[in-house]
Subunit: 779 residues, 2 copies
Amino acid sequence: MEGFGCVGKRIPKIDAQDKVTGRSVYIQDLKVPGMLFGKILRSKYPHARIVHIDTSRARKLLGVRAVITAEDIPAVRFGFMKDQTALKAAKVRSYRDEVAAVAAIDPEIAEEALDLIEVEYESLPAVFDPEEAMREDAPLIHEENKTNILKLPWKLVAGDVEEARKKSAFVVEDRFKTTWVTHCCLGTDGVIADFDLRNNLTMYRNTQIPSLAQKDFNDALQAMGLKASKSRVIQPTIGGGFGSKLDTYAFEYIAILLAYVTRRPVKILNTREEEFRYTSTRQPAIIDIAQGCGRNGKLTFRNVLMILDNGAYTSWGATTPSVMMMPISSLYRVPNVFYEAKCVYTNNTWSQAMRGYGNPQATFAIDSNLDQLAHEAGFDPMEFRLINANEPGEVTPQRFKITTCGLEACIKEVGKKLGWEKRKKSKKTGARGFGMASLIHVGGGARVYKSDGCGTIIKIDDFGTVNVFTGATDIGQGAETVIAQMVAEEIGVLPEDVNIIDNDTDVCPWDVGVHASRTTFVAGNSAVMAARKVKEQIFEIAAGYVDRWKDKEGNKHETRLDEDPQNLVIRDRIVYSTREPEKKVDLGKILRGAHYSKGGTMIMAEYFYDPDNENLDREFKGNLSMTYAYGTHGVEVEVDKETGKVKIIRYIAAHDVGRAINPMLLEGQIYGAAAMGTGYALTERLILEKGEVMNANFRDYKLLTAKDVIPVEPIIIETIDQDGPYGAKGIGEPGCVPTAPAIANAIYDAIGVRIKDLPITPEKIVKALRQKQGETDSQ
Amino acid sequence: MEGFGCVGKRIPKIDAQDKVTGRSVYIQDLKVPGMLFGKILRSKYPHARIVHIDTSRARKLLGVRAVITAEDIPAVRFGFMKDQTALKAAKVRSYRDEVAAVAAIDPEIAEEALDLIEVEYESLPAVFDPEEAMREDAPLIHEENKTNILKLPWKLVAGDVEEARKKSAFVVEDRFKTTWVTHCCLGTDGVIADFDLRNNLTMYRNTQIPSLAQKDFNDALQAMGLKASKSRVIQPTIGGGFGSKLDTYAFEYIAILLAYVTRRPVKILNTREEEFRYTSTRQPAIIDIAQGCGRNGKLTFRNVLMILDNGAYTSWGATTPSVMMMPISSLYRVPNVFYEAKCVYTNNTWSQAMRGYGNPQATFAIDSNLDQLAHEAGFDPMEFRLINANEPGEVTPQRFKITTCGLEACIKEVGKKLGWEKRKKSKKTGARGFGMASLIHVGGGARVYKSDGCGTIIKIDDFGTVNVFTGATDIGQGAETVIAQMVAEEIGVLPEDVNIIDNDTDVCPWDVGVHASRTTFVAGNSAVMAARKVKEQIFEIAAGYVDRWKDKEGNKHETRLDEDPQNLVIRDRIVYSTREPEKKVDLGKILRGAHYSKGGTMIMAEYFYDPDNENLDREFKGNLSMTYAYGTHGVEVEVDKETGKVKIIRYIAAHDVGRAINPMLLEGQIYGAAAMGTGYALTERLILEKGEVMNANFRDYKLLTAKDVIPVEPIIIETIDQDGPYGAKGIGEPGCVPTAPAIANAIYDAIGVRIKDLPITPEKIVKALRQKQGETDSQ
């Protein structure tokens, strides 16, 4: 009875069969009786006054049930800064702006009706560059604010950077840039809003934040004057999130308003093109970074100034600087840190959360610049990282308490597997190079909201089926599977005995949402602790269990467990005495025995787990997470100097995961994240020209496809975290964080040029090589 | 803060709006993607050997997806005595017998395919009269049993009936008969069976027994060789049950088998005609009863012999004699009791549970015969009942512990309201008469299964919405509403704050089912006790609650509750100190305060309530229910001696209900039950000729319609039961129990003839009057 039965096993996702055979019901598949289809008319200008809207022709179209503009509906304000309404009234601030909406009996009629709506605009001067937008004479996006710089106080000061800079032996400073990328979920955004007769609202929505969305929708109902109404969020199967579904959006409120006006359920669903144009992006960042070190290679300071293009409105993603502070303050040991970020309104698409939540942008700058510093100071880049690697027991300048930390092991394992010692040899080929970069990320929740909690309810039936109602949301990452494994392990049943219920706010306890790589840790701890309560109940009952039965000859027998609860264990659905393992009873018998007797009982329990982490204080310090996930990616690239094409020869991804609950799923997370990170590094970008998306399709966006799959070799470092469920940390986001700097560093290693704005396209490489050649030639 | 906020209030059913506007989703409305439609071919004979079935033509019909006979499928045995399979193999035993089934893309094609199935039968001698079926030379329905009498040991002996009979001053004995009646649910039976890829089964089914049905379906999956499969029962809105949905039936297993064979969801739905022909009925009973009394009018003994027509197969309804024992042993005080019942197989439709579960049949005999005895002994019928009325503190011959008992009050109130003292005067009109009859019924659960329990889980969200997951089933009786009222009362919120979740075995805790008038009592106690746990958690948190806030001028304030938990109460969503009522805080604030803090918590609790009642022992004695509901109905009738038509002039129904949680719903139960009882008494019957239903429609069945509504005047007697939730007892069934004897007694009072077999049709009255006239004339 040693070791684990379920934890650590390579179990396929429990919803895999349903997904590959098309049985899973996505929002795309969902139909509700009497459902209408909503479509949204967007702005024709990046910045304009709305002079007049004529909806009369659209209203007359056969099959149209409602046409609404801001005039027709209550002004429901929403968003992180409450800076927008569902339909825009006086002016539009981006091409995304929602001007009118239609509900019709089919989507084609709704689309046709949009064409019949006539909007008269008066174009306004627009601004698309955040640095220009910060100028005093720049057009104001939100006049009432008097400035385009958001009132968000992102600033971290630890130690004395100026003083440290003076004392540094080596200092390198540079500017790095990233651009718009988008989530490319295969399951596009969609919603069905449905009112019942008492004006209670059901929202079918592929959201990552069922509980917070419920709150937003309740607020909207209040704003609509429906004081006694409540909302309920039901989540269909979700085809990817990556942060794109972490807010509530105009289209959701428009669906609500159309449903309210028509008294019919209304579905709004993004086409792929709409998804590209109207889904929020990762924030483009302009990052000025300086780092210094002593002659011993130890980092002395880090100074980061950042400008983020917020776009026309503000999402929860505007808080990414609070997460960017994490690598800036705590990736590698650095005693003096200064960071300041400005989020700036522009007439571009508005940006928001995306896997890593700012960390990929920040780490691209940090670990590229670190590589520069290593070279400047004459250290081998790997050795330089080892010198500065974080260690267990450390408290970082942001007051993060580093408990377990596998960074050193990650760096070393990557170096070993990549053959870092052969680096110089391989360099001789001229076009090949090695690079590495590391990451820190929250691995034990992240207290960005007032609660970082998750609730679980468990009930077990007579057949030993364990029904687990969890606040967790499965967006494809496998939450259901790892929770089932942990609950099965804790109780002592098989994963297939566990039935996860996770898609209905009426039934599932509260959870802050699927973000910050928190689900395995937070929902996992919640589930494990509820399971523990369940197990204790079972042991109490089992302790006195007596089964009286007759054999075929009619002889009477008694099976007695008669054991102290603390000497009991459950494995594979059987309750054993640890002192006398031959004393054992089938779990089902114990459950039925307890149930089918006078004054019977059944096993149920609930637990609300809120981690002991801290909201950042006014200085943005505090132990944000219960634990931190570290990792290092190492890459070997081959660069074609003629074409600038980069080929990834090998890709080693080592992660301190605490414990791998399911190594197969975990590796899946790493594969996917590394692919996403590689796209971010090399190919992907949403091209905006004067605020307008120019490449709203997968091909022109250059999403990596199956043929571009990179040969990721994952290395799992288990540090068995003291606070994690079975020692686990989160792993959802980390895999895409160090990819871009690792690749950039390898490219530099291969061809001696450093590309500092993403993506690192062949054009940029060729241009940089030519420039370098020019410099060399001119010397 | 005196009195109740929610309990005792006349609140409309919370699902009333959805039902009257057609929003409720019944099984009739439910569609599942890819769904096929199943139809069943029934026997053409009441008793025959199946020689050959040719399905080849049916299989070839376009749109048919499967045709199955017993040969094609595993023999899944089911039913209370496991005496049938889903499709019958060697022989058929009634016109209901399922011989083959079809799944097709629409119901019409399935129906057409049935016509193409050719079945060759060899007719067997049949028996339709239970007394004939008991003869040694009768054809055997189930040959393996060697007799048609079921091996069910229904016999109750208390005291010495023979001795008591000898000592009685007056004895009256007679034979009473009842025939087939059926439930006439407006929502006919239906099911959708749906397998997922792992062969887990979801059954959408308007069942009264979700948890027991789940067990049956799990057993079926095992029998089908699907060892690892599980079932889940989802209940759509249920349009009436009345006991008709207390078993699992052949059509459910056929849907499962068709779904398994076709790998598609399969829906089977009864048409109204099928509902009449193939739904089980109330058992017809032949009742020989004798009762005696002393000169003081006190009952001395009761002797009842009963023959029940079981039909061709055995349902849970075969256990109705265990409930018939209740009035036989415990309605009115009677020291010596003998009862024996034989359930007999015939080739008729098989019968089962129906509202009152045998009690209406038994009480018809008991209280008609009691009326005879009163007349024989020279007592006023009301006075005679008062002399023998049960009293609190009594232990009846069946060992029922009578705690609260309002029978005497019921008799007196009925007498008063009816104007019993005017009885003799009104008799002068010749055609008018008064009658009354009483009832006892289980009012605090009924331990007929191994568990009589019900579970509840409660979670409260930040907005103060109380989500209650209950095992209870709402079949239209209003369970959701009364549970919401009790939970709201217990916690101190409003009924509209309570959201009842009661339709999914994955989510809802176990419950034995909606029968035995047990839901208000058992599910109510379970919900109240879970709510109490919730309230205690709230008080613990509230006790230390401190709210710090600023007013408009910026002055700081603190709201402190700072009170011992035991001095707190909640009313209308506000937590008060009982010592200083001005100290109060909004419940929502306390909930959010507890949630939105470090180490936050949320309120959840669960409770499994299993009443402290007893399974009957081998002698069929034991305290079956936690409490007993009593009642008396009094009727004034006018009989047209020419036509035999009976008109109900007044109808007084007094019930000891413990406490009326919702008087409006309670009265609704009484109105409906009295109408059902009146139909049973006067008009309704399913006419079977040699086993074949001859009147499969509402008109010929003579269901009472709106124009036949009787003027029921309910009287609510509250005895505040010590064990009931807020003192409540069950009231679902009692209202239809004493109707027939009350009417029969009134008819006797009016015209001097007693009709002893139901229904009391005009023909029977005219015939009896002519016979009486003949007897008078011949004297």
